[in-house]
């Protein structure tokens, strides 16, 4: 009956995956570098990373549209990805930074003393210890991207619709039953994500300490 709604859902999941991955790839090194810094300096920088969120996201997105205009870059899929990463990067950096900062330096020293080279120290000690922060960051980025609207509308001139927009349009156009069904699909997805995490999300969010 409505294949396009399902396709939009799958597309949104794809966009959310790419955004989450990009945020992770960009955010992890940043969080790592921050956690290696002097606490006072790091705290100031972390605040600088979070500060843009105090400006309404719609205004920020409109400014992003203007930015693309200046750089003569076309609006579309690429702009959408930039907008998403731009909006959600702080949500990735913060929990990872928190869990990295809580890592006991003695553990790292122990690993070094036991003869691990820097690469081994990172992959065998630091990275596994920051998994809760990563999990928390992924959760804070993945689902919100699927349900975001406005960002996709503005940055692709309505060419790309994400699931949140579809849901909203249905409600606005008085198709309440269909909208409610779509909302239920979304809720199932939420349940599935948290099940896949098998309670890990809760723990992760706690340990990652959302701010």
């Amino acid at each position: 009956m409505h294949p396009e709604a399902m396709n939009i859902l799958i597309y949104s999941i794809g966009v959310a995956m790419i955004t989450t991955l990009l945020c992770l790839l960009l955010g992890y090194p940043a969080a790592y570098l921050l956690s290696r810094m002097e606490t006072r300096k790091a705290r100031l920088l972390v605040i600088l990373f979070i500060l843009p969120m105090w400006i309404n996201f719609l205004i920020r997105t409109l400014a992003t549209v203007a930015l693309f205009g200046f750089l003569r870059l076309p609006l579309g899929e690429g702009a959408l990805m930039f907008g998403m990463v731009y909006n959600f990067l702080p949500f990735m950096i913060y929990p990872i930074y928190n869990s990295l900062q809580k890592t006991d330096p003695n553990l790292i020293e122990a690993a070094q003393d036991l003869g691990a080279n820097p690469r081994q120290v990172f992959f065998r000690t630091i990275l596994p210890l920051s998994f809760p922060g990563i999990a928390s960051g992924i959760i804070m980025v993945f689902m919100p991207v699927i349900s975001t609207f406005a960002i996709a509308e503005l940055l692709t001139i309505n060419n790309i619709k994400l699931f949140g927009t579809t849901l909203q349009e249905n409600i606005y156009n008085g198709m309440w039953n269909f909208g409610a069904a779509l909302a239920l699909v979304m809720l199932l997805l939420v349940g599935l994500t948290s099940l896949l995490n098998s309670g890990g999300s809760v723990k992760a969010a706690e340990e990652g300490g959302l701010i």
């Binding site: 709604a5 999941i13 794809g14 205009g69 001139i157 156009n173 008085g174």
Partner: protein
């Protein structure tokens, strides 16, 4: 610090908090008592001179001796307004939707008649141009005369706003320019199914219109399954040519010269042309020769309204020429009033060319020097149809619209998701296998 921890103070704090909660709940109950003195207006953003909202209570007091306080709220989509009233039964006294929502509301019995007993106050509703009254009458349903329920506010045409430096006028004088592959990526369409349907229908059936087999009115208003299929076909052909579907920001992109053509409403066009001129971009507006539509936004009193008297007086207030002129200034749109004052205020001798407006201002006004975008010539009006709401076909058209707009799922994306999921599944399996192996190794060594 110590004293604060005393249980007595804790109790006081708790009590204070409870009182605060009670106060909030009380505040919302109290508002119901004085409801008769409140007029709730729900309007498009930037669509009225907001100083009028302060001046009206003074005027109302002079006319009736009663006090009234205006509660003003704006909406961004007529559909949101409709949802809030139809589903939420919210008690707005006066709303200003576009004609198709008005038609739907009248048809589904969601409107109250305007109270035209104005006492000693003059009845200014007669200032509305007969041209719009006559069009509005098409919305009457058995037992309900449209004129008793709605007051047109602003009106205009739909057409193409274009950049005069980038595309010649001859090309945009026909809808063909939207489907022309050489304009690919330079066109913005409105994300608004109600009137885009009309463009696709008129273009798709133009051969039949030209040969006289069907009228423009029929192709746009029959809503038969074949008509809807034709619109879908045309929209799907149109889609690859578009830079995007504009809901909010088409006008802004036009002023930056990135987009050549934009399907626009005349009032927005006036706004955009002015704004573009400030940054030396030259825009113009044209209604293509195949035809388009004339629309109006109007004021109505929804069923759940609770202050019909003040609402009716406010409508009467808006229908005075001087007030209408102020609203035109603010919004850039064209007032529905057809009075001499309005006409004289619009004449600008610096404009070249004249417009035949006898259809709007009455006989004898066949060559006025006014802005031909705000006031289209009678030759333009002849090819503009009146559009009805889709009514019970609405869901079907919305589904068609959603199919035509389509989705962006492509093979690349599916492949990527597939790889992702595969990795997510493979990773734990791989780790499990490694764990198992190393365990065996260790056991073997021992």
């Amino acid at each position: 610090m110590k004293t604060l921890t005393h249980p007595k103070y804790l109790k006081a704090v708790t009590l204070l908090m409870l009182m605060a909660v009670a106060f909030v709940f009380n505040a919302c109950r109290e508002s119901k008592e004085s409801r008769k003195k409140i007029l709730k207006i729900y309007n498009w953003a930037d669509y009225i001179d907001e100083d009028l909202l302060k001046e009206f209570p003074v005027w109302y007091k002079e006319q009736t001796g009663e006090d009234v306080e205006i509660v003003y709220q704006v909406f961004d989509m007529a559909e949101v307004m409709y949802t809030k009233i139809a589903m939420g039964k919210e008690d707005f006294d006066l709303v200003c939707p576009t004609q198709y929502i008005i038609e739907r509301m009248l048809k589904y019995d969601m409107l109250l008649p305007i109270d035209r007993h104005f006492g000693k106050t003059g009845d200014y509703l007669g200032n509305i141009s007969p041209f719009l009254l006559q069009r509005m009458d098409a919305f009457s349903v058995p037992g309900k005369n449209a004129a008793d329920y709605m007051v047109p506010y602003m009106w205009g045409t739909s057409g193409i706003l274009y950049n005069t430096k980038l595309i010649p006028k001859e090309e945009v004088e026909t809808w063909a320019c939207l489907w022309d592959p050489k304009n690919k990526g330079k066109i913005l369409m409105k994300d608004h199914y109600w009137d885009v349907y009309n463009v696709a229908a008129i273009w798709g059936f133009y051969p039949e219109i030209a040969s006289g087999r069907r009228t423009r009115y029929d192709v746009s208003n029959d809503h038969t399954n074949e008509d809807i299929a034709m619109v879908e076909k045309q929209l799907k052909l149109l889609k690859p040519n578009l830079a995007g579907w504009e809901a909010d920001f088409g006008k802004e992109l036009m002023t930056k010269g990135e987009i050549w053509m934009n399907y626009a409403w005349s009032g927005d066009a006036v706004w955009a042309i002015e704004e573009a001129a400030a940054v030396n971009v030259s825009l113009d507006y044209v209604v293509p020769r195949e035809g388009s539509n004339i629309w109006f936004d109007g004021w109505v009193i929804p069923k759940y309204a609770r202050n019909v008297k003040a609402a009716s007086y406010f409508l009467n207030y808006l229908c005075q020429s001087d007030i209408a002129l102020r609203n035109m200034d603010v919004s850039g749109y064209t007032s529905a009033l057809g009075t001499t004052e309005i006409k004289e205020a619009q004449i600008d001798s610096s404009l070249s060319g004249t417009v035949n407006l006898s259809y709007f201002f009455g006989p004898g006004n066949d060559s006025l020097q006014v802005n031909s975008i705000q006031y289209p010539d009678s030759s333009v009006v002849e090819r503009c149809v009146l559009l009805h709401d889709f009514l019970d076909k609405n869901d079907q058209v919305l589904e068609m619209w959603s199919r035509a707009r389509g989705d962006n799922l492509n093979r690349r994306m599916i492949l990527m998701i597939f790889v992702f999921v595969l990795l997510l599944v493979a990773w734990p399996v791989y780790r499990q296998v490694r764990k198992y192996r190393s365990k065996h190794k260790r056991l073997g060594l021992q």
